[in-house]
Each structure stands twice: as structure tokens, then as C-alpha cells.
Symmetry: C2
């Protein structure tokens, strides 16, 4: 039996690797899409390739787009990546690492590829529990994109194919995500999450992303297998 194709947004980090493993477990042929958008932590793109290969992806594609030319995020360099800030900020500020409209752009590109592949399913590894306060990681955002996707495409006109946006990590905390991934055989030593790695690709251990990740492993009584400097 031919497996149905799905597009998986794959950053090279812990969440999207787990998301890919979940999509594979559901029986999809996984077409993985990474975005080279000018991020300072481009080491994640090589990690994405390793993750895709290790989890048997049908294809891994990196699309280049210069979001950095718009500016507006510490992830493009210039402004510093915040370190050692509380993981549950009381003021709910959106952090400096927020990239304007990034998930909207990524989902749009996933939609373009899905339509060409004839895929009705798109997976994105966002989660609203340990989400660092980004607006485009909320369930209402995902629901609005799904609605849009069904109006934006041929499927929306012909009614042949209803697009579904899957965010299977939405309700999970980092520790649960790691536990699920380990059960599915994800090799987290291949993944990279740090916003501010050194020249050797080693994690800083102090940005939001590192600290959420390390706490997730600690909650599972495990050490994070990723390299830290």
C-alpha cells in the first residue's frame, strides 16, 4: 500500500524531530521542509538533514528565503539573544528572538509544496505549553491557518482534498515531548535547539531554547545528548 504524503516542517530542533517521528508513526510518507531564512543558528539546517535521514524521510528540502533582510529579530544577529531569563515570565512579553510572521511564512511554503505533492496533511512542531511567548505558536493560530489553507488552494475550490494542519505537540510540555520521541526512537543527539551556538555548533546552554530543552531532559532524569560549550 502506498503511504499518503505529508509535509513536515523540520527545523533541526527537538520539537520538529519529534513531530516527524509522530507523522511517520501515523503512516505518512514524510516530505520534510526546512527554511534557510537567515537565522544565526544555521547549524540547525545540517541537523535537520541528519534528523530527516535518521527517521526515514521520503525527501528533505531546504528553501532559502531572506527574512533577515526585513530585520526585526535577535535571531538575525545585531541584537543579543537573551540569556538566563526566567522560563515562566510573568509579564508575558514577546521575546527578542521572535521572528516576525515566521510560522506563517513556513506554513505557506509547506502549503505550496503540499499542493504540488497532492498532500492533504502538514505537520508543524509548535507547542503552546513551553512556547516562549510567540504569538504564532498558539492553537488559535494553527486553526486559522487550517481554515486559510482550505480556501487558498485548488482543494478549497474543488472540495477534493481537505487540508489538515497537524500540531501534535500543542498540548505537551518539553518533558513529555522528549518522552514521546524517545519511545519512537528519535536520536536527540542529532538535533540542535540553541539560538546562539558557537562556531563549532555547540549550544550556549543559557538561551530560552537551551534552558527549556535541558529542563525537559532533566525532568526525564536524563542528560541532554547535544553538545554544549
Amino acid at each position: 500500500m502506498t503511504r499518503a504524503p505529508a509535509v513536515i516542517l523540520l527545523s533541526g530542533g527537538l520539537d520538529s524531530a519529534t513531530c516527524l517521528a509522530l507523522a511517520r508513526e501515523q503512516g505518512f510518507a514524510c516530505y520534510c521542509l526546512s527554511l534557510d531564512y537567515g537565522q544565526r543558528h544555521r547549524v540547525e539546517l545540517a541537523a535537520a538533514g541528519r534528523v530527516a535521514a535518521s527517521l526515514g524521510a521520503a525527501e528533505h528540502r531546504v528553501v532559502k528565503i531572506d527574512l533577515a533582510s526585513f530585520g526585526g529579530s535577535a535571531l538575525f544577529g545585531g541584537a543579543a539573544v537573551p540569556k538566563d531569563r526566567p522560563l515562566e515570565p510573568e509579564d508575558q512579553d514577546i521575546p527578542a528572538t521572535y521572528v516576525p510572521a515566521r510560522n506563517t511564512v513556513m506554513l505557506s511554503l509547506a502549503l505550496a509544496w503540499a499542493e504540488v505533492l497532492g498532500a492533504a496533511d502538514i505537520f508543524i512542531g509548535v507547542n503552546a505549553v513551553d512556547y516562549s511567548g510567540y504569538p504564532d505558536c498558539r492553537p488559535e493560530f494553527i486553526a486559522a491557518f487550517e481554515r486559510l489553507a482550505n480556501l487558498a488552494t485548488k482543494a478549497g475550490v474543488t472540495g477534493e482534498l481537505a487540508m489538515a494542519i497537524h500540531a501534535p505537540l500543542m498540548g505537551l510540555g518539553k518533558a513529555e515531548i522528549i518522552a514521546r520521541g524517545l519511545a519512537l526512537g528519535v536520536d536527540y543527539s542529532l538535533t540542535r535547539s540553541c539560538y546562539d551556538p558557537d562556531a563549532h555548533g555547540r549550544a550556549c546552554g543559557r538561551c530560552d531554547s537551551c534552558r527549556l530543552r535541558r529542563r525537559g531532559f532533566a525532568d526525564n532524569h536524563l542528560a541532554d545528548p547535544a553538545p554544549y560549550h
Copy 2:
């Protein structure tokens, strides 16, 4: 008084030039965005630059993204651009020139730039009357994107800035669009609409885009000032 910034999607064609003129008339400082997405009619990008300059845009930016690598449209070469087909097809087929999710991708990038600029307004020159049967030119698509935009961005969290997606040509036919633009001083000789121009940038006169455009000028008792081969 400082004019409020708006992002205008500018293809170099007749519709988006008119859309820019309307945004300028409404008092916006116009930041024009064009997408170099691998289209075979790249001559439109040079046209977009000329149109932006002639209508006093604050800035014109071309962002490169390789949608052509996904395939799926006659506009990327390979399949032929359809010629001489009826302008009001009875079967409502979506033509071969449809680019999967193009308007979703373009609006996403406009949203990214708008958020960085602090702009609450995005203009897109789609119209549902002479729309060639594209799903992402319908009013319900625009409304769904506006809803998404307000969930996807900082504005959606803080409530500071409500994003509006303007599609001022939505209810207009080609002849009306041209009449409006002429009244606002648009120089249509600068614009290019053909899906399949020759090596000198001259229009074919036979694709859907050429034929809708020529009929629009004819309905105004005018000759189209664009060059044809």
C-alpha cells in the same frame, strides 16, 4: 504629519500598479514588495521597480524565493502557458498558470515586513471579477488571511495594532480598474502583465492575462500602451 506605512504587493502588472495608486491616494507611505519566485515572466520585476518609482513609493524591495523548485505551474516553464482560451470558461477549471499557494506566500512575506515596519495595512491587487479562476483571489480567502494576520503577530497578542488586508480591486472588472488608475495618474505603459513574454519583454497578446488586459483597455476605448510582439 507623518504618513502611516503600508506594505503593497507589487507584481509589475496592471492590477497591483492600480492598487499602489489607490494606497497612495489614501495617504499611506507605500513600501512595495515584489517576489522573485522563479516566474518565467521575470520582466515584471523590472516593471515593478519602474512603477514603484513613478508612483512615489517609500521603498521597493524584491525578495527572492524559489517556489519554482516545488513546480506545479505553467508559469515556471515546462508546461505551456494556455493561449486563446475563453475568458469566461463555463467549467470553472483552475488554469495551468495557477501557482500553488502563491498569494498565501506573498501575503505572509508582506505580513513579516509589515510587522517590522510597524505597519497595520497590507494592500493586494487581487480581483474576483476577472480573476482567471484562481482560488486565492476570492474575498473569503482575503478575509481568512486577515483573521490569521491578527493571530499570527505581536499585534494579535498585545492588541496594539489590528492588521487590515486591503483588496481594493476585489469588486472591480478590468475596465473599471484601468479607469480608476488613469484617473490617479498610473502610467500603464510601465506595467507588464503577460505570462509568456518574448526575450525583449514584449507581450504575447494571447494568454489569459494579455487578453483580459486588452479587453479592459478596449472597453475604455483605448489601446493598451504595453508592447506586443
